[in-house]
């Protein structure tokens, strides 16, 4: 049995004996309403594997991968059980047994080949957005934004300029933070990748990170794997909120939008007020759902769920979009490129916060 499983043994046991007190909170279990995919069901799978009561099989492996790592369950757990990390640790057993769901296996294969989950050459994408002049902040957009939403990176650079915080894409952005390795359960590879990344970042004293998933990985996951960064890491919304007094005195857009707290930004990094401060300056009215901040829902983009259970991931996003605003005319705004893409896949009109900020500062 791996050390990781042993370390998380009390976490699995706690859930296996618990009367499912977070049952309503798991976005995956709400979207794919099976007890096997409830937090409880997934942690029981971990418990059975860890205690060697049951050999791992494909269905149990699938359950271990049916978690976005959103940590909503932990919000409602009086034990503060860290379910996401425990399940991600158990995914290591699925790698060892060759029982990963297909989406996780192909992601790993792609990553191994290209050092990112998209199989793209990131250096070219980064080079196109390197700053020509001096900048105040080095930006780490994250490979997801670089590959899937390059226009968003342009929005960031423009908004940052207008906020008096000029940014340029850092050269180190041509590497992935390694989150896909962590989420897929390839933890030795992740540790190795993280150490290399930390080394590559060592010459960057301060980094502004667009994607909350990357920021969380740098700030929380690296240390958990014993990797120490010398770089000070900030999220983009932190930096922009700090510079809000320098933003143009433009009237807010005459729009109503709904706000979604991205899990990695909110529960992961505790940043709830900064995006709201930005948003409330940019638009006339912001609506929110019944559950927000620490208790807010998930958009289904984390934990490789869009690759391992794409339909479920989209259903998670559809439900969260409806939770934020049931009105089809009201767009959902979020400060997470992955969440925004999930809302788009769910057919919901959505904006990234930065895109909205750009429209506001440009008065369009």
């Amino acid at each position: 049995m791996s050390d990781a499983l042993l370390r998380h043994a009390p976490a699995y046991t706690t859930c296996a004996y618990c009367p499912k007190m977070c049952r309503f909170a798991c976005p995956v279990a709400e979207a794919a309403p099976s007890e096997s995919l409830s937090t409880w069901g997934k942690m029981v799978a971990g418990h059975l594997v860890q205690t060697q009561q049951r050999p791992l099989d494909e269905d149990a492996a699938r359950a271990l991968h049916a978690c976005t790592g959103c940590m909503r369950c932990s919000t409602f757990c009086k034990h503060e059980n860290q379910v996401g990390p425990a399940l991600f640790a158990a995914r290591g057993a699925t790698v060892e047994a060759g029982l990963q769901p297909r989406g996780a296996a192909t992601t790993l294969a792609t990553f191994t080949q290209s050092q990112n989950p998209f199989g793209r050459e990131l250096a070219t994408l980064v080079a196109a957005r390197r700053a020509l002049g001096p900048v105040k902040f080095q930006l780490f957009p994250g490979c997801s934004a670089l590959v899937k939403a390059p226009a968003l990176v342009d929005d960031v650079l423009e908004v940052a300029r207008r906020f008096g915080a000029p940014m340029g894409v850092a050269r180190v952005s041509s590497r992935c933070c390694g989150y896909p390795l962590y989420a897929a359960g390839a933890h030795d590879a992740f540790r190795e990748h993280a150490a290399a990344m930390a080394d590559a970042m060592s010459h960057v004293p301060e980094l502004t990170v667009l994607d909350p998933g990357c920021a969380l990985t740098f700030l929380k996951v690296y240390p958990a794997f014993g990797v120490k960064l010398q770089t000070r890491v900030h999220t983009l919304v932190e930096v922009l909120a700090d510079h809000l007094p320098h933003a143009p005195a433009t009237p807010p857009l005459d729009e109503v939008v709904g706000y979604h707290d991205a899990c990695h930004l909110g529960r992961g990094l505790g940043q709830y007020d900064q995006p709201r401060a930005l948003l409330h300056r940019a638009v006339r009215q912001v609506t929110e759902g019944a559950s927000v901040r620490r208790e807010g829902g998930c958009a289904g983009g984390g934990g490789l769920l869009p690759r391992t259970m794409p339909d479920v991931a989209v259903e998670v996003a559809r439900r969260q979009a409806a939770e934020v605003t049931p009105s089809p005319d009201v767009a959902v705004v979020t400060a997470c490129p992955t969440s925004r893409r999930m809302f788009e896949r769910a057919g919901k009109k959505s904006y990234d916060l930065v895109t909205l900020l750009r429209r506001w500062t440009e008065g369009t």
Binding site: S36, T51, Q53, H79
Partner: protein
């Protein structure tokens, strides 16, 4: 056969199986795979992992088995219908092939009501998850049976309404489960039990017929009370129209300490006799009063998440705790005698609703309590209770991990019998478990008694034996002293025999209902003591 032998046989009667080696699905269920898949658009599973997930509900007996690497008998298959037509088609397949059907909400029952003791097909109803808009004029909402309680309450709160139903299982239980087991919430004294909230039910009978019960007024007998509490033995619930209330504008808490349980009970009785309806009324017996403490401010105690515990915290301390537990809870009689040194009993009241009315009701209740010698503890105990209202459920993990068994028994009795039921159950359970009790869910004519039991033993076999002995002794004492079998947890397997005994000749009426609505006996066979 000795009592002990019979009791140890009780566990195996339902055939605990090793979690690592489930029996294969029955041939007749496998043979129906195509028909089942067709009935529910392919949403059917025969996988061992799914069968394992649906093998148990939250009956604590299963936790003792889990600790030993065993689980209750699993269903042969699970289906996830999403429409009433699909449920009806599954019922027709079950009738045709003579398969047991076990309706399943969220699996939060604590009496084994969702156990597949005859195998068969578990009918997970969570896809009935719609929440309609609140009809503000008529103060009601249409809800799917699969909606989780907390999800519903949050939605309602967001638009200014509440269901007023707060079972301690609200995070892990569904609307359908509440109706199936006649649930009660912590605020039932104001808002009623779930049967008071149901205006109309949607269900599919064991005949395959789909029905919607009429709302008052109507002529003739009311079918709803005959289906509510049927625990899947007559029908599968798919939805309900529920009464809702505006969110309360004000809330007033008050705690009192009485010289004895009897005085505290008298205070509750007089409060209800006066026509007052506190949302919360909870009287803790002396040891529960001392155990729970005086309340004070609710503080967030620092917690080390399980994964971050040190090696010492992970293994050495739990091992020590197990030893201590064996030495203390393994000798419950001594522990129970020791608790007799405590005398005082604490009462918590909470009024809510229109602010001035809540305050006026609180003043009236305070006068009554003071007249009976209650020490006024102010609002702190009530506020502390509210902040920790669901915490007790989280304790289960630690108790089981510490090598104990833990369970609760909730019954009701008229005021004349309440204290005697308390004393007799306490005495009957004392040889087997440490006993705590509180009194809640009060009415003008009686109240509910909620016992908590924690026990241990030399080894797992002894622990399980004591667990069964405890239940037999406690239930028998409760019924013989004038209590009933259940106030809000339902019956399932745990109390099936007790229910049949308590019904007397009425058991034939229940059997006749079963024959009428489930002529082939496919619906959740064996539960409520109804044979397949």
């Amino acid at each position: 056969m000795s009592t002990d032998a019979r009791l140890s046989g009780l566990g195996s009667r339902w055939g605990a199986v090793p979690a690592g080696a489930l029996p294969p699905p029955r041939a007749k269920v496998l043979a129906a795979k195509g028909a089942l898949a067709e009935a529910v658009g392919g949403r059917v599973s025969f996988s061992d992992f799914d069968r394992l997930s649906y093998a148990r509900d939250l009956w604590p007996l299963a936790l003792l088995w889990i600790r030993q690497g065993k689980v209750p008998p699993p269903p042969d298959a699970i289906v996830w219908p999403g429409t009433e037509d699909e449920v009806a088609r599954v019922v027709r397949v079950a009738r045709d092939k003579r398969l047991a059907l076990i309706p399943y909400g969220a699996g939060s029952g604590v009496c084994g009501g969702a156990w597949a003791i005859h195998g068969g097909v578990t009918l997970d109803l969570k896809r009935f998850d719609s929440i309609g808009p609140v009809d503000e004029a008529r103060r009601c909402v249409d809800v799917g049976a699969g909606v989780m309680g907390e999800t519903l309450e949050r939605k309602l709160n967001f638009s200014g309404w509440t269901l007023g139903h707060f079972p301690s299982s609200i995070y892990c239980s569904s609307v359908g489960g509440w109706i199936a087991a006649r649930s009660a919430g912590q605020l039932s004294s104001r808002y009623g039990k779930i049967e008071d909230m149901v205006l109309s039910l949607r269900a599919v009978l064991g005949t395959g017929e789909q029905l919607i019960t009429p709302e008052r007024p109507f002529s003739g007998p009311d079918l709803a009370p005959l289906l509510i509490g049927s625990e899947g033995t007559l029908c599968a619930f798919t939805g309900a129209r529920l009464r809702v209330f505006p969110l309360p504008e004000g809330r007033v808490f008050h705690g009192f300490e009485f010289a004895s349980v009897e005085e505290g009970l008298e205070a509750i009785r007089l409060v209800f006799r006066e026509g007052l309806r506190p949302a919360v009324v909870r009287l803790y017996d002396p040891f529960d009063t001392a155990f729970v403490g005086k309340g004070g401010k609710a503080r967030h105690a620092p917690v080390t998440p399980p994964s971050l515990r040190s090696a010492m915290e992970r293994s050495f301390l739990p091992m020590m705790l197990r030893q201590v537990t064996k030495q203390t809870l393994g000798r419950p009689k001594v522990m129970n005698q020791l608790q007799r040194v405590f005398r005082k009993s604490r009462l918590i009241l909470m009024f809510e609703g229109e602010a001035k009315r809540a305050e006026a009701d609180d003043r009236a209740a305070t006068m009554l309590c003071r007249k009976l010698g209650g020490d006024d503890l102010g609002e702190a105990p009530g506020r502390a209770w509210l902040a920790r209202r669901y915490d007790v459920s989280y304790r289960m993990s630690r108790l089981i991990d510490a090598g104990t068994f833990a369970d609760t028994m909730e019954i009701a009795a008229p005021w004349e019998r309440v204290h005697e039921v308390y004393e007799r159950v306490h005495a009957a359970a004392s040889p087997y478990a440490f006993v705590l009790c509180h009194f809640s869910h009060a009415y003008a004519d009686g109240c509910s008694l909620y016992f908590s039991f924690v026990g241990s033993g030399g080894d797992e076999q002894e622990i399980e034996q004591r667990y069964h002995q405890l239940w037999r002794a406690a239930l028998a004492a409760a019924v013989s002293a004038g209590g009933n079998v259940s106030h809000h947890h339902g019956v399932g397997l745990l109390k099936a025999q007790a229910l049949q005994d308590a019904l007397g000749d009425g058991r034939h009426a229940l059997a006749a209902l079963k024959a009428l609505f489930d002529p082939d006996g496919v619906m959740n066979p064996g539960k409520l003591g109804l044979s397949s």
